[in-house]
């Protein structure tokens, strides 16, 4: 042995050894950088190719100057009009605006900053991230704890939720599996968490299978002529590639450079970004989303403003059909984007419907970015990724714990903060088109658009119809149910068996029945009573054994997490959907839902065919194989409340769906609503009366306490004063 060591250490042999190690490392590096991506792409059936955009054209210097003048003028005019907006005499206003327009300092201040930079650097074509990175290769980041650091810009954005829509390891919220374990807690096997791998009832699809689609619509107006429409998750995500950042799901590997070149910097950073450029295009590789890469957009870059955020986020707040959704007025020069007429939350952020938007606040005033990482706050139930899970975003950060100053009863109002979230009083209702129950299985023909759309069985923005009130301590379940409990430690408060699992309101039941009757005309197989029961009492779909198991899991696994920390009453938008489920992977809270292929769905209305098409996607097939089972699906199922691990029985056999059934999820999801804040809150008696909007008993208060809260003598004295203060906005 000693002799062997000696021979090894002779200068000649040592050199050889070094060479071998170096070559070995080089081979590994090449394998990782070159071979792994090719093998991975082949495995998941995704492709990458250099991306080109037709609107990324060079302009001449003269064109640049003309554009600069025009953009400066319009920016200046907008600023001047904002300043003199208060003057009610139209003529005086016009004169003042003209004066400002010709004021030297005003001209300097309101010229878009990058006009000068581009002119000096002779940048005459916008070529995507590479143009931005010429100057912004690194950026300085100020962290919430006061630290500053310098980061690689591209790396920062590639690893942000906006690009990869998932969080690393422990990111996300305090989400608990139905098995009682915190998702991605320290010591557990981390799984990717976010929208990337989540077939959701609202979009009806995975981002993998629904990234970009061209749909052949046959609208009434064209008399059978086909119009191509765009649809897919990619419309709201900044990656311009043929698929989401699938590579980022794996513990190793990175998104290919060509895919990074597709990042759309300008949708967030340009004030002149044209949403009409956002539509699906087809090239020799496949379908992907176009974006605005014109010099016009590039010349107006700056910090992300509310307008930029709302290009995408009004979609999930006010909704696509919301009157003041500006992005939804610009659906595309061609292949117009399909509007989703039912709103996901129905709480708009706009000057018309939100007091903060009206005050001119920017989204980033509350969601203070750290580089390209943007905080969502520490509370949330929706299992969607979170870049900065430890950063607080809350009302009290600005408003303090004594926010009411105008009302005569300010102290009493402030007193409620300990138990009642601000949103409970300051969001009075949601938009009317807020979807509560959506049936994906029985679509309805939309003659105007010329497509089959999922049937919204029940929509409402009204209190206790479209949304209700739940105790919430910041924890949520794996299927987006708010966790929390009455601070009295009640065992009566039982949202997963009551508020979220049963609809008793006779008005809603009647509305569902009416819609079911309507559906029955197209789908005669529908059993009316069974349909209404399943939709309004989803627990009725469980066997008695499953119900017992559910009860046991709630008591043993979730009760403790409901009692964690401090709970307050929050409003939650309610939602449930009927989708196709893989019954082989079923538990007492639901089964694995299967995605739809958008084109098949919208064009034919054949929902089963649409599911078959979607699950033929290679990545769904991989999901039903052993490596994915071991890598993440077993863990996924455990959190989902399905015992025995992931069953890899692929639900498509010989072209037929096997063990697949249409089902409502066994309880409603609850989505937090935090925007659409109104200045005037609720009146005392809206809650403190026997017919108030809070069901104190269901919220776990004792009979005596509930009676006391419903019949507060004091409230009668307050009424005139409270409504008085309400009229002046108190």
């Amino acid at each position: 042995m000693n002799a062997f060591a000696k021979t090894l250490l002779t200068p000649k042999n040592a050199r050889r050894l070094l060479m071998t190690v170096a070559v070995g490392l080089l081979v590994l590096f090449v394998l990782y950088k070159v071979v792994y991506p090719i093998v991975f792409d082949a495995y998941v059936g995704k492709s990458n190719a250099p991306l080109t955009y037709a609107n990324s054209q060079p302009i001449s210097e003269a064109e640049l100057e003309a554009m600069a003048t025009e953009l400066s003028l319009s920016a200046r005019r907008a600023a001047a009009e904002a300043i003199v907006g208060q003057d009610d005499n139209a003529f005086a206003r016009r004169v003042k605006v003209e004066m400002l327009m010709n004021t030297q300092s005003f001209m300097r201040e309101h010229e878009p900053t990058h006009i000068k930079y581009f002119r000096d650097a002779s940048i005459l074509q916008y070529e995507g991230p590479q143009t931005c990175l010429q100057c912004h290769a690194t950026i300085k980041v100020r962290h919430h704890d006061g630290r500053t650091s310098e980061v690689d810009t591209l790396d920062d954005i590639v690893n942000s939720v906006h690009f990869k829509f998932q969080s690393d390891g422990g990111g996300g919220f305090s989400t608990y599996g139905y098995d009682g374990r915190q998702v991605n807690a320290e010591g557990s096997r981390p799984i990717p968490v976010g929208k990337i791998n989540r077939a959701c009832g609202i979009p009806g699809s995975f981002s993998w299978t629904g990234w970009a689609a061209l749909v052949e619509s046959r609208p009434e107006s064209t008399h059978g002529e086909v119009e191509l429409r765009s649809e897919g998750c990619g419309q709201c995500h900044i990656g311009g590639n043929y698929q989401p950042a699938t590579e980022k799901m794996m513990p190793i590997g990175d998104v290919p450079d060509v895919a990074k070149e597709g990042i759309d910097c300008l949708i967030c950073h340009s004030t002149e970004y044209d949403m009409n450029q956002r539509y699906v295009i087809r090239d020799h590789v496949g379908l992907r989303w176009n974006q605005d890469r014109t010099m016009r957009a590039a010349l107006t870059v700056g910090r992300a403003t509310t307008k930029n955020c709302l290009n995408c986020h009004q979609h999930n707040m006010g909704g696509d059909a919301y009157l003041h959704n500006e992005a939804a007025q610009a659906l595309g020069k061609q292949h117009r984007r399909l509007l989703h007429t039912g709103a996901k939350r129905g709480n708009p952020f706009s000057p018309q419907d939100d007091v903060h938007a009206a005050a001119g606040l920017q989204c980033t005033d509350c969601h203070v970015p750290e580089g390209h990482k943007i905080p969502r706050g520490r509370m949330g139930v929706d299992l969607v990724a979170n870049d900065l899970p430890d950063v607080e975003v809350s009302c009290v950060t600005c408003h303090s714990i004594a926010p009411h100053n105008r009302s005569e009863h300010k102290a009493l109002l402030n007193g409620h903060l300990d138990r009642i979230a601000c949103e409970t009083c300051h969001i009075r209702d949601l938009q009317d088109n807020n979807v509560v129950l959506r049936d994906w299985v029985h679509p309805t023909w939309d003659a105007e658009e010329g497509i089959f759309t999922p049937t919204d069985v029940y929509r409402s923005g009204e209190v206790n119809k479209g949304f209700t009130f739940l105790w919430f301590n910041g924890n949520g379940t794996f299927l987006a149910n708010a966790l929390g409990n009455n601070p009295n430690g009640s065992t009566e408060y039982d949202p997963l068996m009551r508020q979220l699992a049963r609809i008793d309101d006779p008005e809603i039941v009647a509305a569902v029945r009416e819609k079911a009757l309507e559906l029955k005309k197209t789908y005669p197989d529908i059993d009316l009573d069974a349909y209404v029961e399943a939709a309004t009492d989803p627990l009725s779909q469980l066997t008695p054994e499953q119900l017992d198991e559910r009860r046991r899991m709630l008591d043993e696994n979730l009760r403790a997490h409901m009692n964690d920390g401090q709970s307050r009453i929050y409003p939650f938008k309610l939602f449930n959907a009927m989708m196709y489920e893989d019954m082989g992977n079923q538990g007492p809270f639901g089964a694995m839902i299967l995605p739809f292929d958008y084109a098949t769905y919208y064009e034919t209305g054949d929902t089963a065919a649409s599911v078959k098409q979607a699950i033929r996607d290679p990545i769904v097939q991989r999901m039903y194989q052993e490596p994915f089972k071991l890598y993440m699906m077993d863990e996924f199922m455990a959190y989902f409340g399905v015992s025995g691990g992931w069953k890899t029985d692929y639900p498509l056999v010989d072209g037929k769906l096997k063990n697949v059934e249409p089902k409502w999820m066994r309880q409603m999801g609850s989505l937090m609503v935090n925007h659409g804040i109104q200045s005037v809150g609720r009146d005392c008696v809206e809650c403190h009366s026997p017919s108030g909007i809070l069901d104190y008993r269901a919220l776990g208060y004792s009979q005596e306490r509930a009676a006391e809260l419903e019949n507060l003598d004091i409230v009668e004295n307050l009424r005139p004063a409270a409504s008085l203060s309400a009229t002046d906005g108190g």
Binding site: S400, N405, A411, L412, G415, L417, I714, N717
Partner: protein
């Protein structure tokens, strides 16, 4: 007597009335008293009871007629508290003072109140009746919330009378200072009547020190900032801060005038006032030590460590134990030496 005080006194007696109701006892007597002999025995037994507990019996007799009324008052006080606490137990009951912009906290800790000396009172015993209705008056009337007004008759139970305390306070820097910060200084500036509970004999001294000093530091917190040099002259400053109350040095050392807080320049700087054979501290801070505590450790401490000279001496149990061990070793050595000499002498005699 003030009605509030009356109730406290009554309830204090009420606690001691913890024996079967007299009517029950009569029933017992009539049912068991079947024979003459039995009656005689019963009479003897009753005599024993009566003689054995003369004080209790007398008090019971005195309090009896008022008991029903007292219970009513008790439940009235409880319901009055319940009414007020419906709002005031909300931990975030507060508003922003429009003049200063500061948040004014109006909340009352339910538990704290229940354990305080005032926990049995009705709120309107101290606050005017008009506070019973909402909205309340803007500010209390002059003379409201006056501690001395309620407590002037309480002297007999206290080491210091309330009148003395009042007089001390009026001499204190808190009362005589011209500083704008001292304007409106009252009992409530330091003592929150909704939490106030005097330190009890037997409470750990360190706890008492912490609680008392917290009151001072709630305004004078700057003094303990790391950059503050005001107490740098004091040897072992931090040890002093942890083991004695601010008032030990900042009130006249000669008497118990805890409320006569002195200006900084007049405060005690003489170490010997405490560190002497006749230390003030023993009489002041250490009177909270219970008899049991003293019996358990104090006797030994006094005899062996001479605690009376330096309070708690080293305050380091390890050092105390070490010196005890050395002393024990010494005794052993002496004994061994004696035995050795005895043995040597005996051996010599034999030889």
């Amino acid at each position: 007597m003030n009605p509030a005080r009356n109730r406290v006194a009554a309830s204090a007696i009420g606690i001691r009335l913890d024996h079967p109701d007299p009517t029950d006892r009569d029933r017992l007597a009539s049912s068991t008293g079947g024979t003459r002999c039995g009656r005689l025995l019963l009479a003897v037994w009753l005599c024993v009871i009566v003689l054995g507990t003369p004080a209790a019996h007398a008090e019971a007799a005195a309090a009896d007629p008022g008991r029903a009324g007292e219970e009513v008052e008790h439940s009235e006080a409880a319901s009055d508290r319940h009414g007020c606490l419906r709002c005031h137990a909300m931990p975030t009951l507060a508003y922003r003072n429009p003049e200063s912009g500061e948040i004014v906290d109006l909340s009352i800790d339910r538990e704290g109140l229940a354990h305080s000396v005032h926990g049995e009172l009705a709120c309107i015993d101290c606050h005017r009746r008009s506070y019973r209705r909402y909205p309340h008056p803007d500010r209390p009337a002059p003379g409201d919330l006056d501690c001395i007004g309620c407590h002037e008759d309480d002297d007999q139970n206290l080491s210091r009378g309330w009148v003395d305390i009042d007089a001390e306070f009026k001499r204190s820097v808190h009362a005589v200072s011209d500083s704008p910060k001292a304007v409106g200084f009252s009992c409530h500036s330091c003592h929150d009547p909704h939490r106030f509970r005097p330190a009890a004999v037997g409470e750990p001294i360190a706890q008492i020190v912490r609680n008392h000093n917290e009151v001072c530091l709630s305004c004078h917190g700057k003094l303990i900032a790391p950059t503050n040099t005001s107490h740098d002259w004091l040897p072992n400053r931090d040890a002093h801060w942890a083991s004695v109350r601010c008032v030990e040095c900042h009130t006249p050392v000669a008497d118990f005038a805890n409320h006569e807080v002195l200006p900084a320049e007049k405060s005690e700087k003489n170490c010997v006032s405490c560190h002497s054979a006749n230390p003030q501290l023993l009489a002041r801070l250490y009177h909270f030590q219970s008899e049991e505590d003293i019996a358990r450790s104090g006797l030994l401490a006094k005899a062996v460590f001479n605690e009376a000279y330096v309070v708690g001496m080293s305050k380091s149990p390890a050092l105390d134990r070490l010196s005890l061990a050395i002393m024990g070793l010494m005794v052993l050595l002496l004994a061994a030496h004696g035995v050795g000499r005895y043995l040597v002498r005996r051996a010599n005699r034999r030889g």
